[in-house]
Every structure is written in C-alpha cells, then in structure tokens.
C-alpha cells in the first residue's frame, strides 16, 4: 500500500489541531488522512493502491476537497493529482531533502489565494465585429496583387493574408484587455500568469495570486470590466489553493 500526497502544510503546526481536523475529512475512496512531518512542514497523505488510482471526476473531486478544507486553516502547497510515494519514510525523506524549497514556496503563498479569470466569447462574432471596424483586413497585400491577372496563387495569398490580419487584430484586442486588467492587478500587488486563446472560445485564461483580503476589490474590478465589455463573458473563480504558483522541482 502506497501513500498519496494531497498537500504540504506550513508553519508551527499544532499537531493536535491538525490530527483533529484530519479525522473529520476523508481522502480518495474514503481513506483516512494522516500527517507526515519534518521540522515545520507536514505532508497530508492517505493510503492508496497505485494500480487502482483512476483519474476520474470522483477522485479528482475527493482530492481537491481535501486540499480545499486544509487551505482554510493552513498555508499550503497543493500537490499534483497522483503524487504517490511508497511509504511514510520516503515522504519524510523527500520533505527533508526539499525543505528549503518548500519553505520558500510556502512563504510566497502565505495568506494568499489563487483566483482564476477566464474571458470567453464567440470568437467568430468578435472577428466579424473587428473586421467591420477596420478596412485594412480586406485590402490586398499590394496594389499590384489586386490589379494583376487572375492567379489562384495570388488569390490563395490574399485569403491567407485576410485570415492573418484578422488573427493579428484579435490578438491586439486581447492584449488591450490584458493591459486593462493588468493595471488594477498591479494596484492589488497580485502575481499573474496569463495565457491567450487556450480554446476556440476562451480568449484569455489567467490566474492571479493575491492576498485573501483583497478578494472583494478584485471582484469589483472584474465586474467593472464586465460592464464595459458586454460582448465578453468574464468568469472569475476562487479563492483556490495556489495550484498555479508552486515552483519546485523535487529532489528525490
């Protein structure tokens, strides 16, 4: 029987309080949770048969649920789903070897939570709107291209060029939205990670790490942006454990 690790907790842990908390939560497949500690950090783990661990919604929920409850009381580093080690001894050894990195990362996320922002829209509709606002998209590459005799190759280039210009316009528009929320994120002293066009409809997929008590300010700022950009749908979620802000390469 191996051990699956849910999170690494920090601080001067009151082990009595932690044990009481863990006794009230169940892990994957209803397993009991225990803490494996080294100095001032602890790993929360449960028993698991590695071969039986399936990446499905039930297990993913159970895993996330444990982390979410622990996050209410402790600064923590959430572990990736499926982080399994063979025994409590090997976990303790791993904690010891990576102690400085764990401490550094735990300090970075202390009193902070992660928030997610997805901005979704009908990109085809958005492209049509952008296209109607600019004649540049429909201009041929050079005057001579349009005027010269019919050529499938030139027509092909012109079609590709139109698509390219539209794409550039879309990217420019996305960058302007990013610049807008980056402004207030700086004021909130937030750390951010942003991806563009992650799916056909998600034009921005961003995560922020900011102090827990700035949640209300963040919501207000996003709501203000939503009122301004009615064609976009701003989906703000959180607070989450700092899933996207753990930066450790474990030494085994």
């Amino acid at each position: 029987m191996e051990k699956i690790i849910y999170a690494i907790l920090s601080g001067k842990i009151n082990h009595g309080k932690l044990t009481t908390l863990l006794s009230g939560i169940k892990g994957i497949e209803g397993a009991d949770l225990v803490a494996v500690s080294f100095d001032q950090i602890s790993a929360v783990v449960s028993n698991i048969e590695k071969a039986d661990l399936v990446a499905n919604q039930i297990n993913a929920f159970a895993f996330a649920h444990v982390i979410e409850i622990l996050e209410e009381d402790y600064p923590l580093l959430p572990m990736r789903f499926g982080s399994i080690m063979k025994s409590a001894g090997s976990i303790q050894e791993m904690l010891e070897k990576n102690y400085p990195e764990f401490r550094n990362n735990l300090q970075k996320v202390e009193n902070k939570s992660e928030f997610g922002l997805k901005i979704v829209c009908d990109t085809e509709k958005l492209k049509t709107e952008l296209k109607s606002k600019s004649d540049a998209v429909n201009e041929p590459s050079q005057k001579s291209v349009a005027e010269s005799r019919d050529s499938v190759f030139r027509e092909y280039v012109n079609q590709k060029l139109k698509a390219h210009r539209l794409e550039e316009m879309l990217m420019g528009y996305i960058d302007s939205i990013i610049a807008e929320f980056t402004g207030f994120l700086i004021e909130l002293d937030a750390v951010k990670k942003i991806k563009k066009m992650t799916t056909a409809t998600t034009i921005i997929d961003a995560v922020f790490l900011l102090e827990k008590d700035k949640k209300a300010e963040l919501i207000l700022a996003i709501e203000a942006m939503q009122s301004k950009h009615t064609g976009l749908n701003f989906i703000l979620t959180g607070p989450w454990p700092p899933y996207s802000f753990v930066d450790i390469t474990l030494k085994q």
Binding site: H164, F234, I235
Partner: protein
C-alpha cells in the same frame, strides 16, 4: 465544493460543470495524444510524430510569410511564387494526413500545462 467558487459570471453557461468536464477530458486527451509505438503501429506512430512537427513548421513558415507580405517587402513575383509554394505545401500535408489516416486533431499534441501545440 464547500462554497460557490464562481465570483463573477455574466453568462448562462454552467461553468463549474463545463470546466471540470474539460479538465477531465484534458487528462484523457493527454493519454490519447501520447505517442504509442508498438511493432504493429510503428509506421503510423512515427508518421504522427513527424507530421506534427512538419505541420508546426509549415504553420510557422506561413505566419512569417504573411508578415512579410503584409509588410510589403515582397515583389509581385515573389508573392506569386510564395502562394504557389504555400498552396502546394498545404495540399501535400492533406495528402499525407489522408494517407496515414490522421486528422488535424491528431497532429495537435497536448503539452500539459503549456496547452496545445497548435
């Protein structure tokens, strides 16, 4: 979840369900997009890998070419030749995909946290 995690959503999408399903699908897709080479499928497995790289390079070339066309630095003849080359490249890719029974989705490898390749 112990509380509502959606703090702002002006749309009508049941985001929590959609998002979780997407993430679970991603886990499955990562499995699907792994290169699975066995003695029986060595040809198609390798073809998938090679064509993915070729398609990525083709798209990068196309993007760079459009930048140059848009910048006005190419002559009429150069644009003509460029169009012919790009068109033939695209047609050849379609042929190869058909030959190895691959779709555009097969060539879009999931790079985990980095997202999709193309």
């Amino acid at each position: 979840m112990s509380e509502n995690k959606i703090l702002c959503n002006a749309g009508t999408v049941d985001f929590s369900f959609q998002d979780i399903s997407t993430e679970v699908d991603k886990l499955k897709n990562i499995e699907d997009s792994r290169l699975s080479l066995t003695p029986d499928n060595a040809d198609s497995g390798l073809a998938k890998l090679v064509l993915t790289l070729v398609e990525l390079i083709r798209k990068l070339i196309e993007k760079q070419a459009m930048r140059r066309v848009d910048g006005g630095s190419l002559s009429d003849d150069e644009i003509e030749r460029l169009g012919e080359t790009l068109m033939k490249l695209e047609m050849k890719m379609e042929e190869l995909k058909k030959y190895f029974n691959l779709t555009d989705r097969d060539l879009n490898i999931n790079l985990g946290p980095l997202g999709d390749l193309m």
